[in-house]
């Protein structure tokens, strides 16, 4: 059936529950309703909470009645220096982790795009860190690499006759970014690799015949072709990395320089503060940031998506 015919069928029998339009929608409804119920409804409730002084009843001896406080929670955000610190940490953590994993991911993808002995095995090894439980990845780096008690980096420094460094406590942000980059590089690599392999081979070949240098081909043809894949990697990566929680919880448990926005919201609420009202206001601010990134992500996705339909 063509799209036009589908439209006619749709308009022809609106309201009749047994019409073909409803029969088409029926298989979709369970998934759609489930998603709305579990993700959208709580979000709406969060917005409501953000205008109240809701606290956990089980956590206080004298429960206060919940009441409306207007925009007090939002006003408080702008005078909270810890929140400002958390925003800045979030920005740094996300930018460093995304950029570095994109750079490594692109380099690895370029290597893997060639034919060589054991190519499949190398790819398998490289994606493994991405499959690890984030909690385990953070523990491995914390205990095996960075620890001043038994970490390999510390042992190496001692071996070289240098004084040991308290990696995690003196460089919390860099330590967490290291783990994030280690885990997310394979993700970027797979996206860039898909981009490289979608490059039309005949153009590359004719450029080669015309005597273009390898680097020239990369800059003039490959890089422009990869642009959208790099954008997609950066945006999807940002959306996930901006929500990083596990690595922070395991490595530092928060603290100056490593508490990002999600971790701060957690500390203010379930992690000890139990002030759901004001924590909800923080969460809403995070959502506004996310919507900005997500809008760009959706635009890139939908352009790739339209190409795929045309192909």
């Amino acid at each position: 059936m063509t799209a036009a015919a589908a439209d006619v069928a749709l308009k022809g029998r609106v309201g009749d529950p047994f019409s073909s339009a409803w029969r088409r929608r029926l298989p979709l409804l369970p998934a759609l309703l489930y998603s709305i119920a579990v993700t959208q409804l709580p979000f709406l409730v969060s917005i409501y909470y953000s205008f109240t002084n809701l606290k956990d009843k089980t956590q206080s001896l004298i429960p206060e009645p919940t009441k409306f406080v207007g925009i007090d929670n939002y006003k408080q955000i702008f005078s909270d220096p810890f929140f400002r610190q958390a925003v800045w940490t979030s920005v740094q953590m996300t930018v460093f982790a995304v950029v570095l994993s994109l750079v490594f991911g692109t380099l690895f993808a370029l290597l893997l795009d060639r034919k060589f002995l054991g190519q499949g095995l190398v790819r398998t090894l490289l994606i493994t860190p991405f499959l690890l439980m984030p909690v385990v990845a953070a523990l491995i780096w914390k205990q095996q690499m960075f620890s001043s008690l038994f970490g390999l980096l510390d042992k190496a420094l001692t071996f070289l006759g240098l004084s040991s460094v308290q990696f995690i406590s003196s460089h919390p942000l860099a330590s967490i970014v290291t783990v994030l980059v280690w885990q997310w590089t394979p993700f970027m690599m797979l996206i860039i690799l898909a981009g490289l392999q979608s490059q039309p081979g005949d153009i590359l070949e004719s450029a080669n015949v015309d005597g273009a240098s390898g680097f020239g081909i990369f800059r003039q043809l490959t890089l422009p072709h990869l642009r959208r894949y790099l954008e997609l990697g950066a945006l999807l990566g940002s959306i996930f990395i901006v929500q990083a929680f596990d690595a922070i919880d395991v490595m530092t448990g928060g603290g100056p320089g490593s508490t990002n926005i999600p971790y701060y919201v957690y500390q203010e609420s379930i992690g000890g503060g139990f002030r759901y009202g004001s924590a909800s206001a923080y969460a809403i601010v995070v959502v506004i940031f996310s919507i900005i990134i997500a809008t760009f992500a959706l635009r890139v996705l939908s352009s790739l998506f339209k190409d795929e339909e045309r192909a």
């Binding site: 369970p30 060639r114 909690v135 523990l139």
Partner: protein
């Protein structure tokens, strides 16, 4: 073009060999922390703490971590909790996603594109935006510390990915086969069972494996809503960090046990994984 068949016309053999060796070197460096942890898991605690290897290797630490101390979370409990939560949530995801993918790919509903983008936008909503109402209501309905609450949430986490991924595989089922089935008057369920599922099976398997990986590795919700007896594997791994005495070898063994199932799942799904990770935009 086929994967990795590119060989530049003017390229010399030695160059290709160099690339191969460099790729191997990079892979070995990248995997080193995992390899070292695997090695540590077979050491004694003294060797592990000193990063030496004087007392040989054994399966001793794997034996140790399987022993449960009363009052603490045991491997058996955490493993069963994870297994039930992961399998049940993945099954529900597929039951919801397959008909939805049918309605978005085979006989698309009006405005199917908006519906697809709605699913993905739920993935972009930060978890902190919905965790408080979920926590408050879970407390009210006595769901804190149960497997049920985790199953409910993991279905929501994985559903967008599964809908996008299965839709993308359904798009590849030849139209003629579906039209032939439609002319024969086959019902939707029979169409799915006899025509679409057999062709899309490898893709659906990869989708299920990705859902398993994400549910198995999830820590945030598990920590917030499911402490104590309902704890899953990530919490059990962390419980092996001790403030008294050496623990590195035991922790390494625990890490390996916790990661092995999903590493295998990921290796099995790796050829089709990119489609799920890019929400069906890439192949």
């Amino acid at each position: 073009m086929k994967r990795g068949t590119k060989l530049g016309v003017g390229e010399r053999r030695s160059f290709t060999l160099g690339i191969g060796m460099l790729a191997w070197l990079v892979a070995l460096i990248w995997i080193f922390p995992v390899g070292w942890t695997l090695l540590t898991s077979f050491k004694t605690e003294q060797d592990a703490a000193a990063q030496t290897l004087n007392q040989g290797l054994s399966f001793g630490r794997y034996h140790d971590i399987a022993q449960s101390t009363p009052g603490t979370l045991s491997l058996q409990t955490a493993f069963m909790n994870s297994l039930v939560v992961v399998l049940v949530s993945t099954l529900i995801v597929l039951v919801l996603a397959l008909p939805a993918a049918y309605a978005l790919a085979i006989r698309p509903v009006h405005k199917w594109r908006d519906v697809l983008f709605f699913f993905i936008s739920t993935k972009f909503l930060p978890v902190v935006a919905s965790i408080f109402p979920i926590y408050v209501y879970a407390e009210k309905w006595n769901l804190i510390g149960t497997r049920t609450i985790l199953i409910i949430l993991y279905v929501a986490i994985n559903l967008p990915l599964a809908v996008w991924m299965t839709r993308s595989f359904f798009m590849e089922v030849p139209r003629e086969l579906i039209e032939a089935a439609e002319i024969d008057g086959t019902s939707i369920i029979n169409q799915l069972r006899s025509v679409i599922l057999p062709i899309a099976a490898p893709g659906i398997a990869a989708t299920a494996l990705l859902c398993v990986i994400f549910a198995w590795n999830e820590y945030f919700y598990a920590l917030q809503l499911n402490f104590a007896s309902g704890s899953t594997m990530p919490q059990w791994v962390i419980s092996n960090v001790s403030t008294r005495g050496n623990f590195l070898a035991k922790l390494s063994a625990a890490s390996m046990i916790a990661c092995l199932p999903v590493i295998l799942a990921g290796w099995a799904a790796q050829k089709r994984m990119i489609r799920g990770l890019s929400m069906g935009a890439l192949k």
